[in-house]
């Protein structure tokens, strides 16, 4: 049986314009595609990834125009479709002023007080 992994993502929008995705969301998808049982926890400002109406279109540098901007909502949906559970820290959402009803409906809220219990379900907990 595959080992269980929880990727904790705490740094938001890290090179997303250059990579056209979040590299930890990408890696979690790629690991699942290769048979890993990997899930994702969004904490801190990364909870904003759950806001459905965001976009990054329009980047232009000199004569260069971005054709395929990052789409974090698409990527979270894709990860969810691959069977991953995606959690977010409730208190961090509150700090950002984000209501549960505003966030993508397949995200699972978890309280700070429940994090240790969540971590106990995994063989590995990786902080990115």
């Amino acid at each position: 049986m595959a080992k269980t992994i929880l990727n904790i993502l705490a740094t938001s929008y890290r090179a997303t314009l250059e990579e056209q995705d979040d590299t930890v969301v990408w890696l979690t998808q790629a690991m699942r595609g290769n048979g890993a049982h990997a899930n994702l926890l969004l904490r801190g400002s990364c909870v904003n990834y759950g806001m459905p109406d965001q976009h990054s279109q329009g980047l232009k540098i000199g004569t260069w125009q971005q054709k395929n901007p990052p789409d974090l909502v698409r990527d979270l949906k894709s990860l969810n479709d691959k069977g991953a559970k995606i959690y977010y820290v409730e208190e961090d959402a509150a700090h950002l002023g984000l209501e549960k009803t505003e966030l993508l409906n397949f995200l699972h809220p978890v309280s700070e007080t429940q994090l240790a219990k969540l971590f106990a379900n995994y063989d590995y907990v990786w902080q990115w």
Binding site: Q29, A30, G33, I61, G62, N68
Partner: protein, 138 residues
């Protein structure tokens, strides 16, 4: 008095790891579009920004082939800034720190990018209207 200014940017981050390079490039792009001249001193990991061997790739996780993915490359951003400043009749100069490049083996750049030393940073500073430092943060 000319409205055209000369700005020096000192960069320190490598490509594809933080948002700082995208932000710096956007600031430079705005300046270039307004006809200002740009001087860049690429220090430490930023010597990789102009690396000629950078290559776009497909992205199977996105379900895109290489053309559909159209992956950004920082060397192309630098070339785009070169073209924009040329179009505007402004000056563009990009110097990579030679020691930083040597220790990383990052020695093959796109045309127009040169290797230099902190003496170039002094030269840039003396000839600039302002200098913007965008360092790596731990």
């Amino acid at each position: 008095m000319s409205m055209r200014k000369t700005f020096t940017f000192v960069l320190m981050d490598p490509p594809f790891e933080t948002s700082r390079i995208s932000t710096a490039m956007r600031m430079m792009s705005c300046a270039a579009e307004q006809g200002h001249s740009l001087q860049v001193f690429a220090y430490e990991g930023s010597v990789f920004l102009a690396l000629a061997q950078q290559k776009a790739h497909a992205n199977l996780v996105h379900g895109h082939n290489e053309q559909e993915e159209s992956h950004p490359l920082t060397k192309d951003w630098i070339a785009a800034l070169q073209r924009e400043t040329e179009k505007q009749g402004a000056h563009f100069e990009w110097i990579n720190c030679g020691l930083c490049a040597a220790e990383r083996g990052a020695l093959d750049y796109i045309p127009g990018v040169k290797t230099g030393s902190p003496a170039d940073l002094v030269r840039f500073t003396e000839s600039s209207d302002n200098v913007v430092v965008i360092p790596t943060r731990g």
